[in-house]
Symmetry: C2
Subunit: 156 residues, 2 copies
């Protein structure tokens, strides 16, 4: 299968599940060693889950199938440039490369707020529209110290 | 229950599930109208899911319990300042406010890469360590156009 074949599968998923009313028009596949190991699509509406973007559900599917939280060496084909949540998830999953079809500007043109989110995340915390305040830092720090001292912890 | 009570619950979740080996030392609760409507903790290792951070799992739990993808008016208490994936998820879920205990600097000190991720997301795409390339934009755009023309779509 070629790059175009993988992307056409991502686009087909975006069309099929949009038409089924599951969420927005977004699909993604994860590819490792030349074959698809995970598929996802936007399921925000169907699953009542605001985090169920195509890239997130594709990553979760690949990890479930492969039995790992580490997709090192795999690549993602997504029908649209990732929002910041999905881009950060791609880093946490250790994906090697992103292929995308629609650009963020295309998503903005049909009403998806990715550009606003990128600006918010790049702003200092005090300048964001969702306020954040600190509470009980000393009590939580004790748990971090316990984590640091654990001999058998699994790094991820 | 006070702000401190809610945060102590988030910290208790972080400790309990860290000790159970489910993932890193992170817990979170979602509060609406003065009561906890969702709880989460890091389950990256136990669930083989790199997206299963405490804030994400708390948002998913609250949405499942309330039967909605829109948590407008709710607030999150998290045992650590959110990574960019979780911060963006907080925006998608429409949470009103963030309360956090450990700061990002505390997370960095025990080896969690949040600061690196914030820098990567703020960089222009061409300057990021995970390369991204465009493919078949014209074919994907057709699906966006179909979405735009759908009369019965559910905005989110």
């Amino acid at each position: 299968m070629t790059h175009e074949d993988f992307m056409r599968r991502a686009i087909a998923l975006s069309r099929e599940h949009m038409r089924a009313g599951e969420g927005g028009p977004f699909g993604a596949v994860i590819v490792r060693d030349g074959r698809i190991v995970g598929e996802g699509w936007n399921q925000v509406v169907a699953d009542c889950d605001p985090t169920a973007h195509a890239e997130i559900t594709a990553i979760r599917d690949a990890c479930r199938r492969l039995g790992t939280f580490d997709l090192t060496g795999a690549e993602i084909y997504t029908s649209c440039e990732p929002c910041p949540m999905c881009l950060a998830a791609i880093y946490w999953a250790k994906l090697a490369r992103i292929w995308y079809a629609n650009a963020s500007a295309d998503a903005a043109a049909i009403g998806f707020a990715d550009a606003f989110l990128y600006r918010e995340l790049a702003a200092p915390a005090a300048g964001r529209s969702v306020p954040a305040a600190r509470l009980l830092g000393n009590e939580a720090k004790v748990v971090f110290d316990e984590w640091s001292a654990m001999p058998d912890k699994v790094p991820y």
